[in-house]
């Protein structure tokens, strides 16, 4: 009994770490939250103020003259790049999972899946390097001008100018590649584990193999797919290095074209800490902590939702099997 208690206490470091992360960020950013108010997420300007003038008192907080901190452009950049990433990764992941589960023979499936899922193991900064060195020049010179000329004539959001290659679409594309294995791997497992009697019943009723898959097997994995998509979404929201290297790191502007430079909350924290440290009042560094806190809360909510969905699915499946 004593052993069990001891083990429970040591194991408690894990919940403690999560609580400590949120608590430290909240306490540290408290003066910033107090100063920024709710407008923090609605304003479009990140301005450190005049760092060389004497700081002024504002409602009891010492601030650099003219400082405003707003992260609307970061929220928009984060949401748009994540949305593009999921929009590309979802069909691609589903397609790859279907092919792996239904077409690739059992003997090969393990190794082909492994090869594709190795994408998940490649470090974010290596994706960034690849994006920076080869993808940006390729997309910027050869692909985006073509899209701008064709699709851009109909949809203004895709129109000219097609930019340099750094920007929203590139960030979305690189992100999609980082999250597609999450969707593909989870869905492939779910498809392989579907009872084969389902398929046999569908085939017996005269469905083609594809119809059996599309109308019978795939709907059965809906909850898993939603859960996996949420997981992928959470990963894309918080991805830092790759986005930092390909997004163009826009400041205080909203994207008007899909090729425009953006920045995300995660990337902004890295790109701005050096200049924030120049602020003698420390309010800029605390405002960055507030961004980290917002990001932490968003990702905790998204991941908790995803896990709850996946847990619910697992439980219902178990109860069916019993």
């Amino acid at each position: 009994m004593k052993f069990r208690v001891w083990l429970a206490v040591v194991a408690g470091i894990l919940p403690l770490a999560l609580i400590a992360i949120v608590a430290f960020l909240a306490i540290y950013s408290w003066p910033a939250m107090h100063f920024n108010g709710i407008g923090f997420i609605g304003r479009d300007t990140w301005n450190l103020g005049n760092l060389y003038a004497n700081p002024v008192m504002f409602h009891g907080t010492l601030i650099p003259r003219g400082a405003t901190y707003g992260i609307l452009f970061l929220i928009v950049g984060t949401l748009l790049s994540t949305a593009i990433a999921v929009a590309i990764a979802l069909p691609m992941g589903v397609g790859a999972a279907i092919f792996l589960a239904e077409v690739v023979p059992d003997a090969l499936r393990t190794w082909i899946s492994f090869f594709v899922e190795l994408l998940m193991a490649i470090p974010s900064v290596v994706f960034g390097l690849w994006g920076y060195v080869v993808v940006i020049p390729f997309l910027g010179k050869h692909v985006y001008p073509v899209i701008a000329h064709s699709v851009g004539r109909v949809v203004p959001f895709f129109g000219e100018p097609s930019g340099s290659g750094y920007g929203l679409l590139t960030a979305g594309i690189v992100l999609s590649l980082m999250i597609v294995p999450i969707i593909a791997a989870t869905l492939r497992d779910a498809l392989v584990n579907q009872p084969s009697s389902l398929r046999e019943a569908a085939l017996g009723l005269g469905a083609t193999r594809f119809e059996a898959l599309w109308k019978v097997m795939l709907p059965g994995t809906r909850k898993t797919l939603i859960g996996a998509t949420f997981l992928a979404l959470g990963r894309a929201l918080g991805e830092t290095m790759a986005v930092l290297m390909v997004s163009g790191n826009a400041l205080n502007v909203l994207p008007h074209r899909i090729y425009d430079p953006i920045s995300t909350m995660a990337a902004f924290i890295v790109s701005q800490l050096d200049s924030a440290l120049q602020d003698p009042t420390g309010l800029a560094v605390r405002s960055l902590a507030e961004i980290a806190l917002v990001l932490a809360i968003i990702s905790i909510v998204v991941n908790a939702l995803a896990r709850l969905l996946l847990m619910m699915w697992n439980n219902s499946q178990r109860s069916v099997m019993v």
Partner: protein, 291 residues
């Protein structure tokens, strides 16, 4: 044969639209897999071709000097940071894993399991910034090995916890019953019987956690800092270099010598991560075949 023949014949009369849907669907799904495979090969070829071109003995044996030199300081730093992170994370991660597997129906175990999954999803930059606020600023450690290692340890913790738990769950209950019936207490059963049986799987999980921490950048930028020199033996107050930083900074510099260091670092990190993943997968497959 008679029973099957009509069924085969009837498939010939499937409407064209249904056949078309089928062809389009399979082609699309195959194309998705091919595109993923091609992109994977593209990334690996960029890293390996340029990396091998940039790699030579002096890169591995000298320290960074300005925008050139070698990566010895970064290699040492990466190994130190990841190694120290593992040392910190293993006892806590394994304990959390044991608790959530062996007492899996208690509320605390459910909480730990759930929070471990949530912690995996917390962006690494958030953990890095937490390290900056709590360790670098509040505890006043400055950029240091200890701060970087603790940030990495928090990232590895949930991986180790979850793999330990899954490994223990696969240990047969017969084994536990046998040990209990011989008079062993809870501690003997877990440490003497269950853990040794689950050890290979736990090691696989630890290896994968190592691969993750070797590839991390964001949590280290504002905890470990960067240093052009070898580690001076101080746990706090002295920054350390690491390979992923070299990739990120040196690729942005206008000098060919700096870019070459970035490619060499990318090759080292990617190669290391891939080898660990392939080795771990190999262990897993071998165990599956044995069973």
């Amino acid at each position: 044969m008679e029973a099957i023949a009509p069924a085969v014949a009837s498939t010939r009369h499937i409407r064209l639209s249904r056949r078309l849907a089928s062809i389009v669907g399979w082609t699309f799904s195959g194309a998705c897999l091919v595109v993923l495979g091609v992109l994977m090969v593209w990334i690996l070829s960029v890293v390996f071709v340029r990396g091998i071109g940039a790699l030579n003995i002096s890169v591995l044996t000298t320290i960074t000097r300005g925008s050139g030199g070698g990566l010895l300081n970064a290699i040492e730093g990466t190994l130190l940071l990841s190694g120290a992170a593992l040392l910190l994370a293993i006892p806590f991660g394994v304990a959390a894993g044991i608790y959530s597997a062996e007492y899996r129906f208690t509320a605390w175990a459910v909480v730990i399991r759930f929070l471990a999954d949530v912690l995996v999803g917390v962006p690494s930059i958030v953990i890095g910034y937490f390290g900056y606020v709590a360790l670098v600023q509040w505890l006043g450690w400055n950029f240091s090995l200890a701060a970087g290692a603790i940030a990495l340890a928090i990232i590895s913790l949930p991986y180790i916890c979850r793999t330990t738990e899954l490994a223990l769950r696969q240990v047969s209950n017969d084994l536990r019953d046998a040990a209990y019936s011989l008079g062993a207490n809870e501690r003997r059963v877990i440490f003497g019987v269950c853990l040794p049986a689950a050890l290979p799987s736990i090691l696989t999980g630890v290896l994968l956690a190592l691969a993750v921490s070797v590839g991390e950048t964001a949590p280290l930028l504002y905890t470990a800092g960067w240093s052009n020199f070898m580690w001076d033996g101080h746990l706090t107050h002295s920054p350390v270099g690491y390979l992923t930083y070299a990739i990120w900074t040196f690729i942005n510099e206008p000098f060919a010598s700096a870019n070459a260091l970035a490619y060499a670092a990318a090759l080292l990190v990617t190669g290391f991560v891939l080898i660990i993943n392939i080795f771990a997968r190999f262990l897993l497959e071998r165990r599956r075949i044995q069973r």
